[in-house]
């Protein structure tokens, strides 16, 4: 009890000292507090991440409209027909819905207080801004609706989300439960739907990303509470003089750190609140949030509030182990005992031992123990902070010779290699983690990225027009669009052996001869020809089904999905074979290729005769409605915004048309999200480390202000002092990055082996990560030069 009281008294005295001492004391406390505050703000931001995810998820769920599996519903007072009209503008996705309420009780989407009438739309604030700005001119053409209101926050998942609800008419005939559906409520849960099991390797990635990003923050906070350490040691010596014993002195020192960290907590909260507001006005990698999302989880926030001050006390007590504080105002800095290596090695080895049992588990068998993963990665990275002071000490002890600048730097490092190592610890840990993560990402990327098979030389965009093909002139309208070189229009469907619930079916592709040549090598072709494809990758049994003279059915019916059941007779003569080629679709097609004339002819009296006179590429509405129409476009890359012009044409042809830009590969959404999260987090951490490094550098320079002034007084060139500062940073950072590379490569290799992926060193990543780390340090050094020049001014001697 007495000990606790003594501790409390000493710590309280330390807290008072932290803010005492006039301007000097306040400056020191403020520097510590700013450093700790930056770390706390980032920690609070991290504690808010689960809430951000859950709120975004809840908002997304609340506005979910059709689920592709809702039962067919009749029109009623409470039904609403909703159509998916998503689009893309530049690189940004625009969420769009067309709404047609069918009765007075039709459900309103979240964030919308009344249905927009046909020709009107309600938009998100970000979309409103875009549409009213000159940047949104092309999008304005695509959304020719009058803006009748805005969507409130509860209807959006982010402050910068582009979204609209437009009023529409006559949507009901187009209900297909795919893009158009009839619903009675938004956010309906699908019975029996369970959340998808997360891929274990992705969980591994998330765990490592969090550990790697938070570790440098912890390292940084530990460094920040030791700002002003040298001056504090001198002050503590004075306390020894008036009778405090060495333990009391340490506790008082810990109290000073506690004071700084408590103020840091306050500042951190303020920074967080400022950042929270600012977060609403930024969008990073297509993701934005509302400030209200950034609510830290209470338990985690309390943990931060307790852990940070506690850590500051422990770090100070730990740091003062090797410092001998004596009375008479002198801190004897006799050469400290050499650092021991053995326990420092134990940390990374312990980390490896924790990860080793999970080696080889991979995606299939991976059930990674999150505590072992986090603990293992943590120990390996903490190992960097433990090994670096030893390495810096061991290396700089062997350095000598050189210019005055070099000598000043080396001697400084020899005297206090710990300070230098502490400064670069954060960067080293961040780089080690980043290298490991980059290796892991690069190693498993193949598992989460698949080739789309699209041949980008033949087409760069595809427009899905759905049934009816957007009218007979759709192809012409695309051909007339600015930036379009060629247009290939194909209609797809299937032929079956029965009208209802068929047993056999074969796919058909309808197009003019030029379009069909994109899919097969045709011996000769004219309108009216039919070809049976050979050499397809998958034989769908067309040859068994397609017998001359046999009647088949286009768009058959199924129990719960009525079709148009259009009879079509296989021609008795002229059915020829054609070799399928790797075409536009990215695979060798199968089934039948039909020219429009052949389709009409086979359908015989089932279709109106007027259709026969339609252009070859067009089909009459009855046949067209049984097929879905795709348009493939080759663009003129020299025309800026060609894709936007195409999307605008598509929207004019059919507001429900789906215009897609082709890519050669497709990445798993979750994989992409984690990777983007890493980039955002890494940017925040690097900015924090850079800022902290600068604060720490300035603090060190400030402590040496008088010495710098006196060196200048007796004629030292400023360049010499500047270079010495650069060497003082460059030597430890070079060693830190070297160690970080070794640890990063080791950790990366282990993580890859855990994921059962081939271990491969991604040297460009290693070089870029170390380069970024070095760049941060170089930037900080350059930024510290102007204050250094000020500190070197001879009037720094005035108080002498």
């Amino acid at each position: 009890m007495r000990t606790a009281r003594q501790w409390a008294r000493d710590l309280a005295m330390g807290v008072r000292f932290a803010f005492g001492g006039g301007r000097e004391g306040w400056t020191r406390a403020l520097l510590t507090a700013v450093g700790v505050g930056l770390g706390v703000a980032l920690l609070l931001l991290t504690t808010a991440v689960p809430n951000v995810l859950s709120v975004r998820d809840a908002r997304e769920q609340a506005r979910a409209d059709h689920t592709f599996s809702q039962p067919p519903r009749p029109k009623a007072a409470d039904t609403l027909v909703v159509a998916d009209a998503n689009t893309t503008y530049g690189e940004r996705d625009v969420r769009g819905r067309l709404l047609e309420p069918e009765g007075p009780k039709a459900p309103l989407p979240p964030g919308v207080d009344r249905f927009p009438a046909a020709g009107e739309m309600v938009v998100s604030p970000a979309l409103k801004d875009l549409l009213t700005s000159s940047d949104g001119t092309l999008l304005r053409e695509r959304l020719p609706y009058r803006i009748a209101g805005t969507i409130a926050e509860q209807g959006l998942v982010g402050s910068h989300e582009l979204a609209y609800y437009a009023g529409a008419k006559d949507l009901a005939p187009r209900i297909d439960n795919s893009r158009v559906a009839r619903i009675v409520a938004f956010g309906e849960k699908v019975p029996g739907q369970t959340s998808e099991r997360m891929d274990p390797v992705l969980i591994l990635l998330i765990l490592v990303v969090f550990t790697v990003l938070l570790m440098p923050v912890a390292v940084f906070i530990a460094a920040a509470v030791r700002f002003g350490g040298e001056r504090r040691d001198r002050r503590l010596a004075a306390l020894r003089l008036v009778g405090s014993d060495s333990r009391m002195t340490r506790r008082i020192a810990a109290g000073e750190a506690l004071g700084g960290s408590l103020l840091g907590l306050v500042l951190g909260t303020v920074f967080f609140l400022i950042g929270r507001q600012a977060a609403g006005s930024v969008e990073v990698l297509g993701t934005s949030v509302f400030p209200s999302y950034l609510n830290p989880s209470p338990a985690l926030a309390v943990l931060v509030a307790v852990a940070v001050p506690a850590a500051s006390v422990l770090v100070t007590l730990f740091a003062l182990r090797g410092v001998v504080i004596e009375p008479l105002g002198v801190v004897r800095t006799a050469k400290p005992a050499r650092r021991r290596l053995w326990w420092r090695l134990l940390l990374p080895l312990g980390g490896l031992a924790m990860l080793y049992p999970m080696v080889g588990q991979g995606r299939e068998n991976g059930d990674f123990n999150q505590y072992l993963v986090t603990g293992g990665v943590l120990l390996l990275l903490v190992g960097v902070t433990a090994l670096l002071p030893w390495i810096v000490e061991a290396v700089v002890a062997r350095l000598g010779g050189g210019s005055v600048a070099w000598q000043l730097a080396v001697r400084r490092l020899q005297l206090s290699s710990g300070t230098a190592a502490r400064m670069v610890n954060g960067i080293a840990v961040a780089v080690a983690g980043a290298i490991a993560l980059q290796m892991l990402f690069a190693g498993v990327e193949g598992d989460y990225t698949e080739a789309t098979g699209k041949d980008l030389r033949r087409a760069q965009m595809q427009v899905h027009l759905g049934a009816d093909g957007g009218g007979s002139d759709a192809g012409e309208r695309f051909r007339a669009t600015k930036g379009v070189r060629t247009v290939t229009q194909l209609s797809m469907g299937s032929l079956s052996d029965r009208r209802k619930n068929p047993e056999q079916s074969a796919s058909i592709t309808v197009g003019d001869c030029a379009a069909l040549r994109e899919l097969a090598t045709l011996p000769s072709c004219r309108d009216g020809d039919v070809f049976e494809l050979t050499g397809a990758e998958y034989d769908d049994g067309a040859s068994a089904l397609v017998k001359p003279g046999r009647t088949l059915y286009l768009d058959p019916s199924y129990d719960e999905d009525p079709g148009r059941e259009i009879p079509w007779t296989v021609p008795r003569r002229g059915l020829r074979e054609a070799a399928s080629v790797d075409g536009l679709l990215g695979f060798k097609a199968d089934g039948l290729l039909l020219t429009p004339g052949a389709l009409r002819k086979g359908a015989g009296g089932a279709v109106a005769s007027t259709a026969v006179s339609a252009p070859a590429s067009a089909l009459d509405s009855s046949l067209g409605s049984a097929l879905s129409s795709e348009i493939y476009l080759r663009l003129d890359r020299s025309v800026p915004d060609a894709a936007e012009y195409v999307r605008n044409t598509a929207a004019r042809v059919d507001p429900l048309a789906d215009a897609m830009t082709w890519t050669s590969t497709r990445e798993s959404e979750k994989f992409t999200a984690i990777r983007q999260g890493l980039f955002v987090g890494a940017a925040c951490v690097l900015a924090l480390i850079g800022a902290s490094l600068l604060v720490s550098q300035l603090e060190q320079l400030r402590e040496r202000r008088k010495l710098l002034s006196s060196l200048v007084a007796f004629g030292t060139r400023r360049r010499t002092l500047g270079l010495s500062v650069l060497w003082q940073t460059a030597i430890p950072i070079a060693l830190g990055l070297l160690l970080a590379s070794v640890v990063g490569l080791t950790l990366g290799s282990v993580l890859l082996r855990m994921s059962a992926a081939k271990v491969r060193v991604d040297w460009p990543s290693v070089l870029s990560m170390t380069g970024i780390g070095a760049g941060v340090v170089l930037t900080v050094t350059l930024l510290s030069l102007p204050p250094l020049a000020r500190l070197m001014r001879a009037d720094g001697l005035r108080t002498e």
């Binding site: 002198v330 801190v331 004897r332 800095t333 006799a334 010779g401 005055v404 000598q407 000043l408 001697r411 400084r412 490092l413 020899q414 005297l415 206090s416 008088k706 010495l707 006196s710 060196l711 200048v712 007084a713 007796f714 004629g715 030292t716 060139r717 010499t720 001879a794 009037d795 001697l797 005035r798 002498e800």
Partner: protein, 229 residues
Amino acid sequence: MTAPAGSLLAAEGLRKAYGPTVALDGAEFSIHPGEVVAVMGPSGSGKSTLLHCLAGIVTPDAGSILYDGRDLATMNDAQRSALRRSEFGFVFQFGQLVPELTCVENVALPLRLNGTSRKRAEQTALDWMRRLEVDDLAKKRPGEVSGGQGQRVAVARALVTSPRVVFADEPTGALDSLNGERVMELLTEAARSASTAVVLVTHEARVAAYSDREIVVRDGKSRDMERVV
């Protein structure tokens, strides 16, 4: 301005203000080669500012300073730095030794800044340390030596380039009387033997007693005093 006959360093009409605080207000000064001049005065009287102006560390707002016939006002920062490196030496109240360098490296530093090789610089530094009776501290760092020892190392550093003028700002201010006297004895003996002029800023009469002449600074103005023995 015309410098007094035979003077090495002379100043006239010096004025320097830091914001509203006037530190020097028409101060004058002169010193001859090998002469030891004490600048005395109470705290805040402007004596350190006078020293900083004379040494070219601080540029006065008005007035002129001639060193060996050259006007300091016409020199740029690099030229003044070069002058301080080669012709001037400095001793401050707390020594201001570079803590990470050993004592011999500290003493050798001004020579190294002038381009002397490390070996030769340290050899010369050791010679001076021997004269100031601190050669046994050569390999120690400033943090490992006493205040008096550190100040003698600082005096060795000030004299190592064989400067023509040493500026000493309260060189004994942080020392006990015994150590202070020893430092002053060594400083003035070494300076006189090398014909080095010493500008000695102090507020202690017993330190000023080591000088040949005293100048009193009060309210930014200087007054040459008769030598009091």
